[in-house]
């Protein structure tokens, strides 16, 4: 074994209690970091998945520019045939056409501006969770039924219930006046106030008749089996889209830019807290190493007089810290990994979380996501922080002069 490594290792165990306390601080902070980062990544995936599965989907085929300016005339021609092509090319079942417009919804008592969607009853439940969120009544099962499903807040605002009629007034695809009377078949409760207050869905056949859409739609929505798999389907989808003029493929990131921004903002705040934790551990390591260096000043003078360069002694101090850091990293990742893995199977929750999660259409338990990144990213920063903190003690050794060192001691 290299003499510097052997010296470093044995020096660590001169004061085993101090070494274990320092490693313990690293293990504790590393385990916390592993758990928190894993939980955070698990929450983000859940947020993205829930948000996208609620309505947006992982991909949409749209008319160019429709994403930014949802004009009625920006349509996907032959939307049904594109949906069929996608199903055949990708073997995905979760493909559905959808149209949308703004309209006025009037009950006997009140009128509200809403966003009305025309959805395919046979396939909408595969790309959206709204059909499964119907808490009162049912979701239409006939594409031509003159029925409508409204959000719970909208139903309350309009003072309508199952079987009541709503008058829908809007503009048709060509700009003409469009009007219809639809029976409220179901009321959904997504937990997201904005959705429950402003959205209504009607069967696409009925929607096409009312708004003069013919066979067109505004989007073909595609959901892949998992968020992590979307890149596997991108190329196939792009090749299908390339075979049609006047349409583009949009992914979830383009369709929901706010989602990534919200996650990035949350990450920034969390990383600040993690940074504070790393700095605290780094100061603890600096304290340990500084004490250790001061205790051995005389010995450093001796080995310098034997011919060891100050640089090599400085490296010895760094190496001692690196060994402690490595032990802290591995043990921290192990402890953190075991704790986090338990929560990946059993879920993590705390009092009051049910209510908070429901506001964001999230489940009451979060499931951390363990990966190499979540296991080692935090501990790696603690390791680097420790090494940086050892630079000052190492420099103190570097500045020592042999006689001065022996005299100081």
């Amino acid at each position: 074994m290299n003499i510097t490594l052997r010296l470093a290792w044995r020096n660590l165990w001169r004061q085993p209690r101090r070494t274990w306390l320092t490693i313990g601080a690293m293990v504790f902070s590393n385990a916390i970091l592993v758990f928190m980062i894993s939980l955070q990544f698990g929450m983000y995936e859940l947020m993205i998945d829930n948000t996208l599965k609620a309505f947006t989907g992982h991909f949409q085929v749209q008319a160019p520019g429709y994403k930014d300016d949802t004009k009625m005339r920006q349509i996907v021609p032959n939307a049904e045939s594109i949906a069929t092509e996608i199903r055949e090319a990708t073997s995905l079942e979760a493909v559905a056409v959808r149209s949308a417009t703004f309209a006025l919804a009037s009950s006997d008592d009140r009128t509200y501006g809403i966003r009305v969607f025309g959805v395919d009853p046979a396939n909408e439940s595969r790309v959206s969770t709204i059909p499964s969120l119907v808490s009162d009544g049912r979701f239409p099962d006939n594409r031509d039924a003159q029925e409508i499903v409204v959000g719970s807040v909208l139903a309350r605002n309009l003072r309508v219930g199952i079987g009541d009629e709503l008058t829908i007034l809007g503009s048709g695809r060509g700009g003409s006046f469009a009007a219809a009377v639809a029976t409220v078949a179901g009321i959904f409760d997504s937990g997201v106030i904005d959705m429950d207050r402003s959205i209504a869905e009607m069967p696409i056949g009925f929607f096409n008749d009312v708004f003069y859409m013919d066979d067109a739609a505004h989007a073909v929505v595609v959901v892949t089996p998992a968020l992590a798999l979307i890149e596997d389907y991108r190329a196939t989808l792009e090749s299908v889209v390339a075979g049609h003029d006047g349409v583009v493929l949009q992914d979830w990131d383009a369709l929901q830019p706010g989602l990534r921004q919200a996650i990035q903002a949350d990450l920034s705040g969390a990383f600040f807290m993690y940074g504070v934790l790393v700095v605290l551990v780094a100061f603890s390591v600096m304290n340990t190493q500084l004490m250790s260096v001061l205790e051995r000043t005389y010995e450093f003078g001796i080995v310098m007089s034997l011919g060891l360069t100050p640089g090599r002694l400085g490296r010895l101090v760094i190496l001692e810290t690196a060994l402690m850091g490595l032990a802290g990293l591995l043990l921290g990742a192990l402890v953190g990994g075991l704790i986090t893995t338990w929560f990946t199977y059993n879920g993590f929750s705390f009092p009051g979380m049910d209510q908070m999660a429901a506001n964001f259409n999230l489940p009451s338990h979060f499931y951390p996501q363990v990966s190499l990144l979540t296991l080692f990213a935090g501990p790696a920063f603690v390791f680097i922080g420790s090494i940086i903190s050892a630079l000052y003690p190492a420099l103190r050794v570097h500045w020592l002069h042999p006689v001065e060192a022996m005299r100081l001691a």
């Binding site: 003499i3 052997r6 010296l7 044995r10 020096n11 001169r14 010995e299 001796i302 080995v303 310098m304 007089s305 034997l306 011919g307 060891l308 360069t309 100050p310 640089g311 090599r312 002069h401 042999p402 006689v403």
Partner: protein, 230 residues
């Protein structure tokens, strides 16, 4: 040829309000293969002179030449290299590295020099045998007596065959029997390998072995006796 040459060395320490002249215009030349004892009462300057020769201390003025190289203007790294290859140190307090075994302490300098493991092992076994510590190589300093530790320190100082050995009160913590054995070992190494020894001591038994006796007082050389001449 000169092993050591010091020209007009001056070193002043500040102690409280007083300036203490540890070296006061010291000139000395030591030839290769010499066995020199520096004798002085406490504070006479012998340790400071040893430190100056070994490049351990910073001087106020003067020149120090070791093995034909001027060392007083060398960098820390160059001085470390010189000490590693050419100078062996023996201290009063043994100064072994506590976390290493006797064998590892002896091998330490060779390992820093980059000597291959096999060669290191052979040399360390041989030198431990030579200083009478065969079979004790696996003991740590805390498990050895003062005399045994000093022998390990001597073995460490001479194992890589330095041309110059500087010893500061090497017998101060040893009983008379062990002191005698140690000095005989120094004398033998001096005779057989031609190693130059400079020993700071006020031990009369050590001085008896010296070929040259240099007496110091208040940082100055006051007497320089070459026993071979007389």
């Amino acid at each position: 040829m000169s092993a050591v040459r010091c020209i007009d060395l001056c070193k002043t320490y500040r102690q409280g309000d007083q300036d203490i002249k540890a070296l006061d215009h010291v000139d000395i030349e030591i030839v290769e293969g010499d066995f020199v004892c520096l004798s002085a009462p406490s504070g006479g300057g012998k340790t400071t002179l040893l430190n100056a020769i070994g490049g351990l201390d910073i001087l106020d003025s003067g020149e120090v030449w070791v093995a034909g190289q001027r060392i007083d203007c060398m960098s820390k790294g160059e001085l470390a290299g010189l000490r590693l290859k050419q100078i062996g140190f023996v201290f009063q307090a043994y100064n072994l590295i506590p976390v290493l075994t006797a064998r590892e302490n002896v091998e330490f300098v060779m390992q820093v020099q980059g000597v291959p493991a096999d060669e290191r092992g052979c040399k360390s076994e041989a030198i431990l045998e030579e200083v009478g510590l065969g079979g004790l190589g696996d003991r740590r300093p805390a498990e050895m007596s003062g005399g045994q530790q000093q022998r390990v320190a001597v073995a460490r100082a001479i194992v890589s065959r330095p041309t110059l050995v500087l010893a500061d009160e090497p017998t101060a913590n040893l009983d008379s029997k062990t002191s005698g054995e140690l000095i005989e070992l120094f004398a033998e190494l001096n005779e057989t390998h031609g190693t130059t020894f400079v020993i700071a001591t006020h031990d009369q038994r050590v001085m008896a072995y010296a070929k040259r006796l240099v007496k110091m007082l208040d940082g100055r050389i006051v007497d320089d006796i070459d026993k071979r001449a007389g």
